[in-house]
Symmetry: C2
Subunit: 553 residues, 2 copies
């Protein structure tokens, strides 16, 4: 069996100018980065003669068994085009740091991949590097400000703006900077996050144009004064310089699938600490030019889809016309208690138990009123009995199940799913908002925790309670809430698989992300800077005189 | 009078594919980054029917008055092409960090500029970002290594590999990393340099191909064991991963001047802590395809040209056919003691005194045996008497003086210089090496200090003396030496202008840069991470809804 990179290497790509032409873009509408990558110039072009349908692909809670959401997404895009439904895929761009830690890319798999995969998984068009530069330039400007006149009285102990890197570097999680004497800055404790976890990444993904990005950058709270008054970037006058550094990064990137489906890859915010969706501009660019736009959200539907519908949707101004929930037999069995090593066998009792996870996601999404389908990402070890059990279970909830074989067969393995999606997207539907913006952050958090996660109650730490009062005072209550919790469970405990009930959901701390336009509610300790393992993937990589890379994926 | 950015904005650029075509490169030989930038694919193409002449542009010691070396370089390239001598310019790529600190770019000025200047001075084609990523990935791998088994026994207190950023961030000069507990790494003191000061930048600039780069990365000494034995990247097995991150950055970048002269901009190592020349591959790419290649070296001839001739030349395998020493009346008068505010006046006594600086550079370069000319970068305040004084002075040394008016007139202002350069490059000449590689580092340092700087003696600190003994033991003696000293003076004291004599030159410490392939000898405290000023340029920058930037230059 070929590996993902071997399959990708065998692909014949079309020149990106040709892919652009297919969706009505001329050479003046794009900026080429090599022959197979391009940025889309702003303002985005729009073709009014298209259907502009939007399909959101989400999944059950991720497990070590693998779900293959991106693979199904890519396969679905290819299949829709095969059926002559003109389709563009919109997806997140990968973070480079993890590539050198744990082997594996983020551009689909098998015959459902986006290419050129090496480029996309490494520097790509430099978006993450631009974000890193912009983030750290802001940090340097803030540190320079406090060692100069510091007219606003920023408290060095209360600066919340951290530096970032697109490297898995645990040694930078907690650092002391500004050491070395009077001319070397003000010593203080701080740390580095990975770039994908930065507020600037979230801002890039929620901005509707360059001036919206500048306004959002201006609203960032970098810290507090000695009197605990928040200080924003616009008070310091740095928003133009930071925006200058992001003027190209804001433009969505065009690539293609192995089957030449136009794919817009742009922005990759974390789905726990941030909202986990590709950029609004990427989705908009695709919708503007296609009959069908298929896009994804991060992790399971409890995190990614909820944030898509409660955060991104409000900026995008468009509700998905259909949704796909991806699951695998293996992952459902794992959720039901099966051991990882046993997943190749038929495990009907565990499957039955684990289906509770899928069912809660289905009910959660049905509650929003969007037509949906369950896609079973097919593995050769799946048995007829297992498939039938899932089908029977979903039918009882009024949802169809379609088998998708995107990895092995590409778009040909996803035609049934494409047909079902087209049918669903044409159905009339009515969207039901989960919460309104005029609710308090506490109410919003309670609504998400009880109605989506299935919590019985929500507890707030003393710190969080105090912050709720402060945020009211600062006038920040009308923002949506972005809950940062483990992706593995509906609860705040990663070991509680399936569909736990009767639990209390714990909010430890709130973090204002005024530039992004949401309040982060931390439930547990979120990892915002990954580390490297005992044997990092980097150790086994090779590159030869022809530039051929091995061990990258 | 228009500013540099206004002049640049008015330019009509030719598509980069057309520029490439002019020098015999097809679309398959380049990788476009937008319409006006491209990378040259490796291996480099060569046209055997060209003259392959190389011209090195250097200058007197820099002063606050400004010399305009890059401006003259660009004007000279344009002028040579105007005279139908097919010419390519090779120059360094700017560092982005300083752009947000002190207003000013590094792509020439006035009508002798390289474009697109905004792009080149900001993210360009991502080379510096790739270097930053590679450098910091290596740092993360090393820190991860010491917190794991650490089989080689690397001493956390003796790790010399620092992290880098392309940001002016003084607060990162001295930091403590790895704080936060057992799972967050090993606490240790370290710091960040600016990317241009990194060994990887020097390596990129001295590599002849991808495998040479990999070998050099493998030779980097990251630190020492508890037994003080050096540990290299290849012992840790990380050289392939780091090389993968630099596989595109190693390719030279093609842009153009305002007058459409093909310009290869690639690599920008510091000229004090490193060797200060654009990449060997950039110079090679230009020489392969042109009759005349004009290139530069950093700061004054004592630093940049010496390192070009003693370090880069050995890798490039080519000695310049002619040299240009750029000076200004203003800078010479400043060297002779004139006040900055008085430079608009005629200052003949100060000029006479300051000419000692020019004269020592002339004699130093004549010693190498390369034909040379002095170019006076013209200012409107220059008087005939001042020019005549310089001409008479240089004639006595057997060197012609040519007035260059590159800023105001572009290539048209540099035609005389071009004619002189062509004449010089056709003269027979014999190159005299300053030192041979079999001399000890101490001998090499003494040779440079006494024969180039004019020092009477060299003193070594106790630490440096100990290191000289260690390096002999480690077998590092056959490397060239890269002296890190102030650019403002021949001495190690930046206030000693002109041409000081009878001084002792102090070597504080040695730093092995085995990947780059030289031993750095530190004379004084070198700034390897710049800071931001009281009012950083960033504060006065603006960007509007059309993406128009003001205040960047």
């Amino acid at each position: 069996m070929l590996t993902d990179i071997e399959i990708a290497d065998q692909a014949t790509m079309e020149p990106i100018a040709k892919i652009a032409e297919k969706i009505g873009l001329s050479e003046d509408d794009i900026e080429q980065y090599g022959k197979y990558k391009a940025k889309l110039n702003l303002p985005l072009k729009k073709n009014d003669n298209k259907k502009h349908k939007l399909v959101l692909v989400t999944s059950i809670n991720p497990t070590p068994a693998g779900e293959g959401k991106s693979t199904v997404l890519v396969g679905l895009g290819d299949a829709l085009n095969k059926l002559n439904h003109q389709t563009i895929i919109a997806m997140r761009e990968p973070s480079m740091g993890p590539v050198f830690g744990i082997k594996g890319g983020a551009t689909g798999g098998g015959y459902s991949q986006v290419v050129p995969m090496e480029d996309i998984n490494l520097h790509f068009t430099g978006d993450l590097h631009a974000l890193t530069s912009a983030n750290n330039t802001l940090a340097a400007l803030v540190d320079n400000y406090i060692m100069r006149d510091n007219e606003l009285g920023l408290d060095p102990r209360r600066i919340i703006w951290k530096r970032v890197e697109d490297v898995n570097d645990r040694a930078l999680r907690n650092v002391v900077t500004g050491l070395g004497g009077v001319m070397q800055g003000i010593p203080r404790e701080t740390g580095f996050d990975i770039t994908a976890a930065s507020e600037l990444m979230a801002i890039l993904c929620l901005s509707t144009d360059l001036m919206d990005l500048k306004r959002r950058v201006g609203r960032i709270v970098v810290g507090y004064t000695h009197d605990k008054v928040p200080v924003t970037v616009s008070q310091l006058g740095f928003e133009d310089a930071i925006t200058i550094l992001l003027k190209d990064a804001i433009k969505p990137n065009l690539v293609q699938t192995l089957d030449h489906t136009p794919t817009i890859i742009h922005g990759g915010p974390f789905a726990n600490i941030a909202h986990g969706c590709n950029s609004v501009l990427a989705t908009q660019a695709a919708m503007n030019l296609a009959d069908y736009t298929v896009t994804e959200s991060g992790f399971g539907a409890d995190l990614g889809a909820e944030k898509f519908l409660d955060i991104k949707r409000r900026v995008l101004g468009k509700t998905p016309d259909a949704m796909v929930i991806v699951a695998t037999v293996r992952a459902l069995e794992y959720n039901g208690g099966a051991e990882l090593a046993a997943l190749k066998n038929e495990n009907l009792p565990e499957l039955k138990k684990g289906m509770a996870n899928l069912n809660r996601h289905i009910k959660n999404m049905q509650r929003f009123g969007i037509p949906l389908v369950v896609a079973i990402n097919h593995f050769v070890t799946d048995t007829d009995a297992e498939i039938k059990m899932i089908e029977d279970n979903c039918r009882a909830l009024g949802v169809n199940v379609v088998i998708a074989d995107a990895w092995a067969k590409g778009g040909d393995g996803t035609l049934d799913l494409a047909k079902e999606v087209v049918k669903l997207a044409d159905q009339p539907s009515e969207f039901h908002e989960l919460y309104t913006l005029d609710q308090t952050p506490e109410e919003k958090i309670r609504t998400i925790a009880t109605q989506v996660y299935g919590a019985k109650d929500v507890s707030f730490s003393n710190k969080a309670k105090k912050q709720l009062r402060q945020f009211t005072e600062f006038g920040w209550n009308d923002l949506p809430v972005c809950i940062a919790k483990t992706q593995y469970s509906f609860t705040d405990d990663k070991n509680q698989l399936g569909a736990p009930e009767g639990f209390t959901f714990h909010i430890r701390e709130l973090v204002p992300k005024l530039g992004a336009g949401f309040i982060v509610a931390l439930a547990g300790n979120m990892m915002t800077m990954p580390g490297l393992g005992k044997t990092p993937a980097a150790v086994n990589m090779t590159i030869d005189e022809n530039g051929t890379i091995k061990g990258l994926f």
